[in-house]
Symmetry: C2
Subunit: 183 residues, 2 copies
């Protein structure tokens, strides 16, 4: 790692696309909250922003988070409590951009541009970086702020390219930090 100061991630539930390419909203799931918290903590990535405009979904998020922050569960499992501190619930990606001077990097299985940044190269770019993941069938760009760029799509050896967003997060962060880990 040289220039990069900090990595944060965002998981967008709106605006995203449905399989027909129309604007849609997805549900926050407890599994995503836990898996994003755990993988981010493993690589010291913080904060993890959950983006959803609906009050009911925000309530679900806070129910899960407070279960660990202020209940017996967190006493029994202090590591889980600590990683839950790094999650933030926000209405929109615009709110995330007000939270810090981020350079914004979008991710997709099919980026709409040909010149993408390899995840391992991000560590050489100075500043704070926000890596943005979309749920559903991906980010709906027509309703999102401009990004600094796109991270390269993950390539598999199989013919089916359909990773879960939980798997994509894990692989991107491992590639980002692998050179550090091997040094």
């Amino acid at each position: 790692m040289s220039g990069c100061s900090r990595i944060a991630v965002a998981l967008v539930h709106y605006p995203v696309l449905n399989p027909q390419g129309e604007r849609a909203t997805t549900a926050i799931t407890a599994m995503d909250i836990h898996d994003f918290a755990r993988t981010a903590a493993f690589y010291n990535v913080s904060p993890v922003y959950f983006v959803h405009p609906a009050a009911a979904m925000q309530s679900l998020f806070y129910d899960v988070q407070s279960h660990w922050l202020s209940g017996k569960a967190g006493v029994r499992n202090p590591a889980r409590r600590e990683m839950m501190r790094h999650l933030k619930m926000v209405d929109s990606l615009d709110v995330v951009l007000e939270d810090g001077p981020y350079q914004v990097w979008y991710t997709s299985a099919n980026p709409p541009v040909s010149s993408c940044v390899k995840p391992e190269s991000l560590m050489d770019i100075a500043g704070n970086h926000l890596i943005v993941f979309g749920t559903g069938s991906g980010l709906d760009l027509s309703g999102l702020p401009d990004a600094n760029g796109w991270l390269s799509a993950l390539q598999g050896v199989g013919s089916i390219r359909h990773l879960s967003v939980r798997a994509a997060l894990s692989i991107y962060l491992d590639r980002l930090y692998r050179s550090d880990l091997e040094a």
Copy 2:
């Protein structure tokens, strides 16, 4: 890839350990079925064995699998149908070993031996390999067949080492196939 012919994975729900280090059984979750199927398909890894001795849990597995193999869902989403074909439900790890001449590699956040095999080195070892993941607090070795060895534990840069098994699968397989993808 040179010597390795094929990689398969197994997700063990019994015998595993609970947080107190006692033998335990965990539940099969629909999320694990999907995430294991998707990540394995991305890297052409097959089969994916789900290990659980309980009939009720095996029923849950077959409900999910058949929903995709023989319902409208699979017509609407043929990629998901295709990846579901590579999942196999078995009673025990012994049954897996009867299914093919595997070299068996266990995984753990804290392997009990000091000489582990790096995941990227596995591709240079001839034969068919089975990578075994434990749910709960990890594999209960006292009830499992001997392994050929252990894969190195994943190292993060953060202080909290508590990846989900879904994340661990993704990172191990990406490391295994990474050199191929870059070639």
